[in-house]
Amino acid sequence: MDFDFDSEQNDLREAVRGLLTRVYGDSESRRRVTTAEPGFDDKTWSRLAEMGILGLPFAEEDGGMGAGPVEVAVVAEEIGCVLAPEPFVEAVVLAGGLVAARGSAAQRSELLGALAEGSLLPAFAHAEPGTRWTASAAAVTATPDGDGWSLTGVKEPVPHGARADVLLVSAVVEGGTGLFLVRGDAAGLTRTGYRTHDGGRAASVRFAGTPAEALGEGGDATAAIERALAEARIAYGHEAIGAMDTALRTTAAYLKTRKQFGVPLSKFQALTFRAADMYVSLELARSVALWASMVADAGGDVVSAADRSRLQVSRASRHVGKEAIQLHGGIGVTAEYSIGHYTSRLTAIDHVLGDGDWALSRLAERVSDHETVDPLGAPYAG
């Protein structure tokens, strides 16, 4: 058992931090980038590709770096620290992860290679209006059509769905939920993009007999989707940890410099104790987030570990996000200052793939299955 990052992981962190701090160290530059289309910086995306980040978790034969969940965690945390708007978790971990898990050799080679090079942006079109977080599709259906398939229905919100070059789409098939590839220029595809509150992008994606290609051998992909969602939830956990870390440091710095009633705010014990409680929430969540990535690395029950991470990170995100604003006072709710953007992003992460109460419900259903939780034993140690 070892909670230390190795030197290669530390080097990776330094490299990513160096790049992202240069671009987004000043929160105004992030605001500029997220205001313009496509909501992130193409040049930074290319630099991430050059550094190997966009192929990080993929097999070398698919054009990737063959790295593991811990390296993904390192990158996601650095993304979170500066709220970099580049869709690393969305494109690489989630959409890329599904291709890696279910794609044919040809699909993997084509899509993951291009993703790793930064020349192709994939998005996972899965959520459907009116339902909540689930691993299956209900409103979009797939029907065989010649050699391929044809999709009908609406997916929304699809993160980066308007800009994506290729969509991975979950759809109802006989026997469950299948996964399909839809090219951005496919006929019968209508995409309406918009900004999300955290400066990101999402879209309504309409399929009207849209031609699609089955991912890999087809068939029910519910378990693979569940697993890919779990890996994305874990990665988002690290992005949230990075964001909370910055939010707490920003808040502590503000308390030291801002004066009220003739003294710095840090002289008010009621405020400093609340900052201490934020630290407690953050560190406890960090422990579970790190552990969940280690479970993934060890081949353990990644779905359960992701739920545990999601619950702890969600609770911490709300606590830290709210308190960071409150301890700042009025400036905290302005778009001109950084802290509110952190709360906005934490709120988005919290809701995109399942919030804390949702994760808790899943954990509660299984709480009688075990007497105690052994984080180093079954089912987590693989």
């Binding site: 959520a127 209006p129 009116g130 339902t131 909540r132 977080w133 689930t134 609406v154 929304e156 919100p157 993160p159 209508t190 309406t192 918009y194 900004r195 999300t196 509150h197 990101g200 999402a202 309504s204 309409r206 801002r258 004066k259 009220q260 009633f261 003739g262 008010f268 009621a270 405020l271 709300r318 709210k322 604003i325 409150q326 006072g329 009025g330 905290g332 709710v333 302005t334 778009a335 001109e336 509110g340 953007h341 709360t343 906005s344 709120t347 988005a348 809701h351 995109v352 793939l353 919030d355 109460d357 949702w358 808790l360 419900s361």
Partner: protein, 391 residues
């Protein structure tokens, strides 16, 4: 001790309810119900409808449009207004500068300002907060220096809500920098926002809205007759003004409406094959906020029922504190009900995400302000610990 309203008050409540739901234009109330930002025109139109019926400034002196109602009547008036999604009379006019001018202004000022203030012919904004003051309002630095018949104002205000719509500003300025206590030497000046030397910079909030502003004063000349009340007694007027209508700040009616919407939305969302409203934990969460809100409403009723003698009820300090927490809890609840749909905050035409889910997170983020503005919750705790518990 008696639970029921008297028949007279029951009739009064019914009268208010009928008026608000039939006389205030439906499109304006729909807009409030949908939690869209209320436009200047909607504010003005509503307040004029209300004022024409004597319902805009009932707490003012009768000669200026007041109704001589009991605190309980005023409470019912406000609750029914909120429940009916009626935009309330502009606080800066109705609750702030109006009562101050009525109480401390001279006759000429009353005649000059009060009718237009009640009818929202003049849109007022508030010049109190400053960048380096925050909760320590009394440390303000904007200065007014007497020059002949004028005051010359220099300095900066911030958090000036809806200042972009304002015709006039009421402004705390330091007129005696040598005063021993910082609370002394402050005066209350009023002047038009288009006075030479006044500039306004809107501040974008985290939900993308523009509600507050910075206001800069550079050698703004204000005629001496625009001083309200006595020179150097502005702090007293500010306290009078901020203590006004503390009950309304609980915003019970408004939060009730949010909660009713939350229940409705929970029925529209499917989770695990059944309406989210049937999830026992979601139902419990809604029921708990509802009970907290009941407790707040009853506390507000205790305060109004017992404040007829003019002394503030100690429990009134609870209202702002818990009222803001419950507004925030209700907006958070709606975001959680929206779930993944809450991402679609700027969706437009061509989106299948319902409007309520689109506005959920911006409203939630925007509502972080309610525990900060108007006396932060930390200030409220200081008041409770100090004035009530003697700590």
């Amino acid at each position: 001790m008696r639970l029921q309203l008297s028949p007279e008050l029951e009739a009064f409540r019914e009268e208010m309810r009928t008026f608000f739901t039939t006389q205030v234009p439906q499109h304006i109330r729909d807009s409030v119900a949908a939690r869209r930002h209320v436009s200047k025109e909607h504010y003005v139109e509503t307040q004029r409808v209300l004022h024409a019926a004597g319902l805009a400034v009932p707490h003012w002196p009768v000669e200026w449009g007041g109704r001589d109602w009991t605190p309980l009547q005023r409470h019912i008036w406000r609750e029914e207004m909120q429940l009916a999604c009626v935009p309330e009379p502009l606080a800066f006019n109705a609750s702030m500068i109006g009562p101050v001018i009525a109480a401390f202004g001279d006759q000429e000022q009353k005649e000059r300002f009060l009718p237009g203030t009640a009818n929202l012919d003049i849109w007022w904004c508030q010049g109190f907060s400053e960048p380096d003051a925050g909760s320590d309002l009394a440390s303000l630095r904007t200065a007014a220096v007497r020059d002949g018949d004028d005051w010359v104002v220099n300095g900066q205000k911030t958090w000036t809500t809806l200042g972009q719509h304002a015709d006039w500003i009421f402004c705390l300025v330091r007129t005696d920098p040598t005063a021993e206590k910082k609370q002394r030497g402050i005066s209350l000046l009023v002047f038009p926002m288009d006075s030479p030397g006044v500039t306004l910079r809107p501040i974008e909030l985290i939900d993308g809205s523009f509600e507050v502003n910075e206001v800069f004063f550079e050698d703004v000349r204000v005629p001496a007759e625009n001083l309200i009340g006595e020179e150097n007694r502005g702090w007293d007027y500010a306290k009078f003004l901020l203590g006004n209508e503390r009950v309304g700040i609980a915003r019970v009616g408004s939060t009730k409406r949010l909660l009713a919407q939350a229940k409705e939305h929970a029925r529209e969302i499917t989770a695990d094959g059944r309406p989210l409203s049937e999830d026992p934990r979601m139902a419990a969460r809604i029921a708990e906020v509802e009970n907290e809100l009941l407790a707040l409403e009853l506390t507000a009723l205790r305060v109004v029922a017992n404040s007829a003698d003019g002394k503030p009820h100690p429990a009134s300090s609870v209202l702002k504190l818990r009222g803001s927490e419950l507004q925030q809890a209700a907006t958070e609840l709606i975001v959680d009900i929206a779930g993944p749909l809450s991402l679609a905050s700027s969706a437009g035409e061509g989106s299948d995400v319902p409007d309520w889910a689109r506005v959920a997170t911006p409203e939630y983020l925007n509502h972080r302000k309610v525990s900060i503005y108007g006396g932060s919750n930390e200030v409220q705790r200081t008041i409770i610990a100090g004035s009530i518990l003697g700590l």
